[in-house]
Amino acid sequence: MSTDPKAVEEKVIDIVANQRRVDPSTLSLDMKLEDTGIESIDLVEIIFAIEDEFDIDVPQDRDAMKLETLQDVVDGVQRLIAEKNAA
């Protein structure tokens, strides 16, 4: 799976935009997830789409990974991909 940073950023934004039914251009990495208007059900679906897309497992423990902004999500995904590749 590509770990090209730009590709990961675009994919994460696409996934969130798709869930929110908005144009990706309306989202930016510094935005907080909660400000994109998502509800708790949206969050689990976004995480599922990310896990499925990148074949990674986001930890069950909510405190294990900071997911406040879209940048946090991208950073988290990069870290999980790197951990997976190293294993």
């Binding site: 509800e39 708790s40 059900i41 689990v44 599922f48 497992d57 930890p59 069950q60 423990d61 909510r62």
Partner: protein, 403 residues
């Protein structure tokens, strides 16, 4: 309308293979949560569950029963037999004609579904075992109980996710109250600790990876359980006439729907069910001396349930002891209300409120009178047992002391 008594209890859970073991462990604050052994847990993020351990139905069930029952049905048959023996009830022809069997379950034959999926899609084998349909159907437990005990009364399965058992018990209460049945075997059963189910639960991201700490500030989520709980219900008059031991009166049932979010509970919906249960039982809020909470330990349920209790018991929300025994037997989904009803009936009979195990520090958002780690002896004129399910389906039972 007849008043209804609980005269027999049967149970199989992570806490033991009898209602006595189940209650004793709960009373002692001993948790049955441990490492998952049914499934290779290295494949899962969830590593813990409240499994029924050492269950061996061979020798207790006939060959015909063994070949045609899912694990969930096996739990139910054996718990039902124990409950009837516990009640000291012998079914005359007349009584067998009029005894109902109403058994809740969330999924039904989950183990069978999982094994068959693997066989057909994984192993690509071109045929399934002929007993697949009977094993899978969520009415199987009710059917098999009627067959095992020789009952001819009304019988069916009931389903409402985590409230299935309370809904089943509530229906059975109404049957005996109104005379549609003279007695009832009721409760719930569930066994869905399969690889597929565990993956599905993981995806909801409400699961704890350590243990279940309802109402605690450091709670991490739910822990799944499995098992069956069965109650024998009779008219209070019949029970007294035959000198039966009566655990408690099953005094009321209250139902409501949240009509809100699929997974986020509504305090108003839960409070409505509690108020309706009290009204159905003809009891004032003051009469309640203990609440067995739904208390799943998720971020969402616990504070919402605490707020609901404050709404339903205005002014007394901090006085009534509340505990979640899911901390010990896990969340057994369609069996949850039944495992909890067995405990609540014993709590009322013995005037002891069982604890919430694994308790550390209360979450300030769950501003209740908790029972941390150790049971308390306390006057309980009546108790509530709460079930609040996904999809906003709520069912609350009231049990009352019989002197």
């Amino acid at each position: 309308m007849h008043r209804v008594a609980i005269t027999g209890l049967g149970c199989i859970s992570a806490l033991g293979h009898s209602a006595a073991e189940h209650w004793q462990a709960a009373r002692d604050g001993r948790s049955g949560i441990g490492g998952i052994t049914h499934v290779a847990s290295e494949l899962l993020q969830i590593k813990v569950a409240a499994e029924v351990r050492g269950f061996d139905p061979a020798g207790k069930l006939s060959d015909a029963q063994l070949i045609s029952t899912d694990r969930y049905t096996q739990f139910a048959i054996l718990a039902a037999r124990d409950a009837v023996a516990d009640a000291g009830l012998a079914f005359s022809d007349a009584l067998a004609e009029e005894t109902a069997a109403i058994i809740g379950t969330g999924i039904g034959g989950a183990v069978t579904i999982d094994e068959n999926a693997d066989r057909v899609y994984g192993q690509k084998r071109p045929r399934m075992h002929p007993m697949s349909i009977p094993k899978t159907m969520p009415s199987a437990a009710a059917s098999y109980i009627t067959m095992d005990l020789g009952l001819h009364g009304p019988a069916f399965g009931v389903t409402s996710a985590c409230s299935s058992a309370n809904h089943a018990i509530g229906e059975a209460l109404w049957m005996v109250r109104t005379g549609r049945a003279r007695a009832a075997i009721t409760g719930g059963s569930e066994s869905c600790l399969t690889y597929g189910s565990l993956l599905a639960w993981q995806a909801l991201r409400v699961m704890a990876t350590d243990t279940c700490r309802p109402f605690c500030v450091d709670r991490k989520g739910m822990v799944l359980g499995e098992g069956a709980g069965i109650l024998v219900l009779e008219r209070l008059d019949d029970a007294k006439a035959r000198g039966a031991r009566i655990y408690a009166e099953l005094a009321g049932t209250g139902l409501s729907s949240d009509a809100g979010s699929l997974t986020d509970p509504s305090s108003e919906g839960a409070a409505l069910a509690m108020r309706r249960a009290l009204k159905d039982a003809g009891l004032a809020a003051d009469a309640i001396g203990y609440i067995n909470a739904h208390g799943t330990g998720t971020g969402q349920n616990d504070p919402a349930e605490a707020r609901a209790i404050h709404l339903a018991f205005a002014g007394r929300g901090r006085e009534i002891p509340v505990s979640s025994t899911k901390s010990m037997h896990g969340h057994s989904l369609g069996a949850a209300g039944a495992l909890e009803s067995v405990i609540t009936a014993r709590a009322v009979a013995e005037q002891v409120a069982p604890p919430t195990a694994n308790f550390t520090t209360a979450d300030p958002e769950c501003d209740l009178r908790h029972v941390p780690n150790e049971a308390i002896e306390i006057p309980i004129e009546a108790a509530l047992s709460n079930s609040f399910a996904f999809g906003g389906l709520n069912s609350v039972l009231v049990m009352r002391r019989v002197s």
